[in-house]
Amino acid sequence: MAITKMPKQIRDYVPSFHRHVLGLALVCNVIASLCLAGLLLSMGTFTADSTTLWMIVGAVFVIGAGGATLAVHLAIQPTKDLLSALIHVAGEPTLTPPPNPNNHKYAGSGLQAALQTIYELASHEEGQSSLTAATPPLTDTAKIMAAALDATTCGFVVLGTDRSILYSNKVAPVKTDQNGKATLQLLFNGSDTLDAWLDECEEQAVHNEHIWTRIADRLPEEEGRRLFDVIVSYQKGTISETVITLVDRTATYSVNEEELDFIAFAAHELRGPITVIRGYLDVLEDELADVLKDDQHELFRRLTVSANRLSGYINNILNTSRYDRRHLSVHLSEESVADVYATIRDDMELRASSQNRLLSVNIPTDLPTIAADHASLSEVFGNLIDNAIKYSNEGGAINVTADVKGDFVEVSVEDHGIGMPGNVVSNLFQKFYRSHRSRETVAGTGIGLYISKAIVESHGGTISVRSEEGRGSTFTVSLPIYATVADKLRAGDNSNEGLIEHGDGWIKNHSMYRG
């Protein structure tokens, strides 16, 4: 009796084969028994109604059938073991444990070698592709996974070694252009981008993971804007080198967006009283100049310095709130570093002298002009000098210098204060980052450097720091010389669009609102 139908799975094969062979053996037995009965009848030894005849035939049948069953069972065992090994290797579900080639019953026989060969082949295979114990065959798994991933609210994107998108599920913020090239639509903050991180990984990591929070897929005014927490896993050299998981947090963060609006509003309200405080301090100090004693002058200076600093911090908060909502933009025009500094000179000199620091500013007047947003850049200088005052010691010298470096003008603020260890430096420009020690000893919000970096980068410039613990720090701001960017600026209507290459143009039509 032939096997007419191919079983669908390996595990179906043995039982059906077993049944067929057993059936065949039994049929043969029945035929043999009947033949024996016919022979005995024809020989006339027994009559058809003789009980003895049927007892003999029955006994022969039972013995034959038992023997055949046993023989079939023994004969099929090696096949069964081999197939059982195959079932395990192929990853089909089964309750039988995989045959152990080291079992004594296989010892010495060729079967041990056969089993070992199967397992070895399978382990080679596994090294190349991932043939693990999945429920259905792989093609079905892929279909199920794709359907499942499309049904979730999380975005999944897989990038290959060349950073092209190999896979993205339905909700992932991926845009396909006319040429069919898919790109990830995420607006990262400044230079802290996925690409920058991957550059770093390619150079120095085998396995790495990073999380960005509150990353939007489009500009604030655009329809259907979503905000994600982006979790990226990097595993060098694998086919799915970069796996990006995007958790849609729009509902949570859009509430925060309103809070940011509130921050802008509150900061604006704070400016009213500050206007009056700063104004009258200025007026009163003049009018009382003849009446005030020396130490009272000093008290006035302290009041003025404090009011000025408060005003600066409010600007930092406002700008940070704008920047975090992608509203920060700058209007660049031709400025000189000396002119920008001039607007904060009095304030800075007062701050330094009231806190016993020696501020020396040496900005050559013949420096080339830079492309700058006057007010924003003066805030950056203010923040850096304010930090230099904060993190240096009584009587410490603070030097502000400027020089030309290639197509850039470099402005450096150097202090001889407490300095920082290397691990602090690397985190310095993060929002709300404050070193453990500075948290204990110096007041501050931790957004001054964060927003300064954002402003400098919106100018197409860079900010960097050199520091030595116990010896002091030097912050350097590098800004493009106006002549080198004038054409780009004119083309972009004095916005910074042409200067910012990493910003995906998101700054367009958005501005840092100044009151």
């Binding site: 400016r271 009213g272 500050i274 206007t275 700063r278 200025d282 007026v283 609102y513 100044r514 009151g515």
Partner: protein, 126 residues
């Protein structure tokens, strides 16, 4: 033409008084109004050398006043210089629109009366 007469349109009493006091001490002739409608009327009735204009004003916003005076086909106050003084965070478009018709655009919190007078001197030399 030296600046002599100034119209200050400012609704905050403390801030208004502060500017008026300092400007008068500096020798200027200052009129002060506190709402937008009065501001517009006063500006049209008397030719001031300079107008200090707040943005967030009752009755009529500073933007509307500036637009009514200088935004039409005819400049209604051709001899008056304008300094916009505000603490309000305007959106870019409105700010640029105001700057087009103003000689200076300043944040009040950043400007002390002394600095304001310096700015007025600067405008004088233009």
């Amino acid at each position: 033409m030296a600046i002599k007469t100034i119209l200050c349109i400012e609704d905050d009493r403390f801030i208004g008084e502060m500017y008026v006091r300092s400007l008068k001490k500096a020798g200027y002739d200052v009129d002060w109004v506190v709402d937008g409608n009065d501001g517009l009327v006063t500006a049209r009735n008397k030719p001031y050398d300079l107008m200090l204009l707040d943005v967030m004003l009752p009755e009529r916003r500073g933007t509307e006043i500036l637009d009514a005076l200088k935004g039409g086909a005819e400049d209604l106050i051709p001899h008056t210089k304008v300094i916009v003084l505000t603490n309000f965070e305007q959106d870019d478009a409105s700010r640029i629109a105001m700057q087009k018709h103003a000689d200076a655009y300043l944040i009040k919190a950043e400007i002390t009366p002394k600095r304001l007078i310096e700015v007025i001197h600067q405008l004088d030399t233009l």
